[in-house]
């Protein structure tokens, strides 16, 4: 072919296309994730923060962290607590000063886990200048403010005192008899000396390749961004959660989509998906290609009606709240909309917790009773005539929100004969911004995912006067007092006080309880040993194939 002007042009075009294609071939190479052997692949998403215990507060990084580190205590599948690194955690008589003694324990780099490993890590997390996102967990300890930051910019928490290498004390602001329950949470994990650089900052390298003391350690390939995190058992681990498998691979699903993950479980490319996608909720329990799990879980759903809304304060408000609650047929919604992957609520906590009872006095207000609802609403109208529309705000980026809000407002409309509708926010953070700024003018959906397995964690942080998550600015002195008393009580006394506190909530209804979210999961049919823990997560160490 003669080299004409045109063929040269074609050459330019070809080179351009070829370079695009060549660039395209860079991605596929090396490590094939092994599906053979006893390595378990589980659903994951790319961690949003470095893998530092005090920095990670979302599940993408949280799940791997839970397996890479061990805290003072660990949670069993049934929600009870065992000592892990702690030899003992003993309170003084009013549960304000806790003395911790440690077992001999090592990080995977061979260094010892000492009092310093804990105290330094917590100090680091609570110092505002370090911008750690789990600061919130340190707020019960003396020397921190409401948000859990050290007071006056100090870089140590004054409530922590090192006695020697294997013991230290924790002084709390207020009595808290279930404080050890908190200590299994990832914010309280120890961090080795190797993590800090000369200036005392935790290094970026550590955040990428953490050195832990948990049941697993990072494999050689470790965390591959946007791909996977691979863990192998830690041979030196002597704690309560000794791995029964040969490793875990958290396989990332781009965009967080569980649909693709479900398909992978069906075709044996993925062993564990710990949240069934909405599209499969109707079918997953009869799907022969997966093993299905569906049990009541620890997430509590409600909607909050702030007292500042017109018609919702004082005696009128109390009547209206009760009327709205009784106008709702929760069972119908959990069945029709959620295919029984929710369980109608009978209190403000969760049935998976120690001490939970079904018959809290006053909880008949959570039963559907149209006649009573109408009567109460009429009584409220006698105090002041109802005007306007009852709106319920929700975020549209959560699956099923629109559907249930439509159902709830429809039931209110039908039963009470008032105008009621949903108010949509495109994303969760937009809704939350209006809630935290107190600019929201309607009722709004709320929920609670507990930080540690205690009923009090469902009450204090949400409904106590001035509490961090008290979105409706609810305040009741008597309730505050009962919660405080329950915090320092133990055993049956404690549960009695909690019941009394809940009875007050059922009368005031600062939030209207809706349902407990079930924990759903689909696993490959070959997988054995699957069991939900109280956090609605599988206990990864128990899984085998």
């Amino acid at each position: 072919m003669r080299l004409t002007r045109r063929t040269r042009l074609a050459g330019v075009a070809l080179v351009a296309v070829a370079s695009l294609t060549l660039a395209a071939c860079g991605g596929d190479s090396d490590s094939k994730s092994s599906s053979d052997g006893n390595v378990i692949t589980v659903y994951g998403t790319n961690p949003q923060n470095p893998l530092i215990p005090t920095a990670t507060n979302e599940v993408g990084g949280g799940d791997p962290l839970q397996n890479l580190f061990s805290g003072l205590t660990a949670y069993n599948s049934d929600g009870s607590v065992v000592n892990e690194v702690a030899e003992s955690i003993e309170p003084n008589e009013d549960s304000t000063v806790w003395t911790v003694k440690l077992k001999p324990w090592k990080f995977t780099d061979g260094s010892d886990v000492t009092s310093k490993s804990f105290v330094n890590a917590w100090n680091y997390g609570a110092t505002a200048a370090n911008k750690q996102l789990n600061n919130y967990f340190f707020y019960p300890i003396e020397g921190t403010d409401e948000e859990g930051y050290t007071v006056d910019g100090a870089d140590t928490i004054s409530g922590l005192k090192i006695i020697d290498d294997t013991s230290f004390t924790i002084t709390l602001k207020e009595p808290e008899s279930d404080f050890p329950l908190r200590l299994g949470y990832s914010a309280y994990f120890p961090v080795p000396d190797a993590a800090y650089d000369a200036s005392g900052k935790i290094t970026k390298e550590f955040g990428e390749r953490p050195i832990g003391n948990g049941p697993y350690k990072l494999s050689k390939s470790g965390w591959e961004r946007n791909k996977q995190i691979s863990l192998v058992p830690n041979p030196d681990y002597t704690g309560a959660h000794k791995p029964k498998n040969d490793g875990l691979i958290f396989k990332f699903y781009a965009g967080g989509g569980t649909d693709a993950a479900y398909t992978d479980v069906q075709s044996n490319n993925l062993d564990v998906l710990d949240q069934v996608p909405p599209s499969a909720l109707k079918t997953f329990e009869s799907d022969k290609k997966v093993t299905a799990y569906n049990e009541p879980g620890s997430n509590f759903s409600s909607f909050t009606i702030p007292e500042r809304l017109k018609h919702f304060s004082g005696e009128e408000g109390e009547l209206r709240r009760a009327a709205i609650s009784m106008a709702l047929n929760r069972g119908q919604i959990t069945d029709k909309i959620f295919n029984n992957t929710r369980t109608p609520a009978t209190d403000f906590t969760s049935p998976v917790l120690d001490g939970w009872v079904e018959d809290v006095p006053g909880n008949e207000v959570l039963q559907y009773n149209a006649d009573e609802a109408k009567k109460l609403w009429a009584q409220a109208d006698a105090i002041q005539k109802w005007t306007g529309s009852f709106q319920l705000a929700y975020n549209n980026d959560g699956a099923g929100n629109k559907e249930f809000v439509d159902a709830v407002t429809n039931q209110i409309k039908t039963t009470l004969g008032i105008d009621s509708s949903g108010k949509v926010y495109p994303t969760f953070d937009e809704l939350r911004k209006d809630i935290t700024d107190r600019t929201i003018k309607t009722a709004f959906r709320t929920g609670w995912q507990a930080d540690y397995p205690s009923m009090l964690n469902y009450l204090g942080p949400i409904y106590a006067t001035g509490a961090g998550s008290n979105d409706g600015d609810y305040s009741n002195k008597e309730f505050d007092k009962l919660v405080q008393q329950a915090s320092s009580a133990t055993g049956d006394d404690r549960y009695k006080l909690i019941s009394q506190a809940q009875t007050i909530l059922l009368k005031d209804l600062p939030a209207v309880p809706l349902w407990y979210q079930n924990a759903t999961a689909a696993t490959s049919t070959k997988l054995k040993g699957f069991e939900f823990n109280w956090q609605q997560k599988p206990d990864y160490y128990k899984l085998t194939k």
């Binding site: 042009l9 991605g27 409401e146 961004r225 965009g255 989509g257």
Partner: protein
């Protein structure tokens, strides 16, 4: 011609500036609070909030944020994602997957589309032509996500011929099914466009002249019909690479492909302005370069077009 290429490349500068500015304005209009996302909706002190806002330039005036972005972008520094990964690295990781997918879809589209379209055009109004029209109409009417899920279910889950999802260890074989899904809607258009173009050119004067000169049918079709017919088709296919990459987001989600569409989606959901802008700018640039490429291919197909 090189002068023409240079001139076109210079034109990308205002495109870059304009596109990024528009993106910044659009993302600013998105309400909500990225810091809340970042903090997982837990209480954050004002001090930390300010520090985070400063780190990601969230509190600066829009124009300043944009200037900052342009300044750093010139040195290929697009900052870090909220997850602490350099954005340029994120693009480097996810972009090749999407490009491979788009190029594969493009090839399927071009080969099948032009081939079948030409045949249909040559035998217009015959049974082959009619059935192509019906089939392409059917393909055009199916939304891409329906097609994606159905093909995934049939070939991946039920028949087990291919792996139903691509995952992090992607390769060309695994991308085949998603590429077919991505190609299908476009390829129906290509068939129709080629068919009409070929049919039209068959009756043109120069074709009649060529036949009158006694050229073989084969030569007439190849040199006189196809070459002329391909000009509009090439425009369409070329510009398509851009839209294929944008359209890939649905396919990427269905088949769990770790591509740039998914990266952009995650960034938008979290309000990571600088990440979104960097990714979209990158795609805009690809679009611009593709249209340049298309213009250059014109000259190959139609010698009357000269770039001076």
């Amino acid at each position: 011609m090189w002068w023409y290429v240079g001139k076109r490349l210079l034109q990308t500068i205002p495109v870059f500036l304009g596109a990024t500015l528009i993106l910044f304005i659009l993302l600013k209009l998105r309400p909500g609070d990225p810091i809340l996302n970042l903090a997982g909706n837990k209480p954050v002190s004002d001090e930390v909030r300010d520090a985070l806002a400063a780190q990601y330039h969230l509190d600066d005036p829009l124009f300043i944020q944009w200037l900052q972005f342009v300044k750093s972008a010139i040195t290929l520094d697009f900052g870090e994602t909220f997850a602490g990964q350099p954005v340029i690295e994120l693009i480097g990781q996810t972009f090749p997957v999407t490009v491979t997918l788009a190029v594969m879809a493009l090839l399927i589209d071009a080969i099948l589309g032009i081939g079948l379209g030409t045949l249909a055009g040559l035998r217009r109004n015959g049974w082959f032509d009619s059935s192509m029209l019906v089939i392409s109409l059917a393909l055009l009417s199916i939304p891409i996500f329906v097609l994606g899920f159905v093909l995934q279910l049939i070939f991946g889950v039920k028949l087990g011929w291919v792996e139903p999802t691509v995952g992090p260890d992607w390769n060309i074989g695994k991308l085949l099914l998603p590429a077919i899904v991505l190609a299908i809607a476009n390829f129906a258009y290509t068939i129709r466009l080629t068919r009409t173009s070929v049919a039209e050119n068959l009756t043109a004067d120069h074709v009649r002249t060529a036949r009158a000169k006694g050229l073989s049918n084969r030569l007439v079709v190849r040199n006189h019909v196809l070459r002329n017919s391909l000009v509009p088709v090439v425009t369409y296919i070329g510009i398509n690479l851009g839209s294929l990459m944008a359209g890939a987001i649905i396919t990427e989600t269905i088949f769990n492909i770790p591509g740039i569409g998914n990266a952009a989606y995650t960034a938008i959901a979290k309000g990571e302005t600088s990440t979104v802008v960097a990714i979209v700018t990158f795609m805009v640039m690809v679009y611009v370069l593709m249209s340049l490429l298309v213009d250059l291919i014109y000259a190959v197909l139609d010698p009357r077009i000269r770039y001076v």
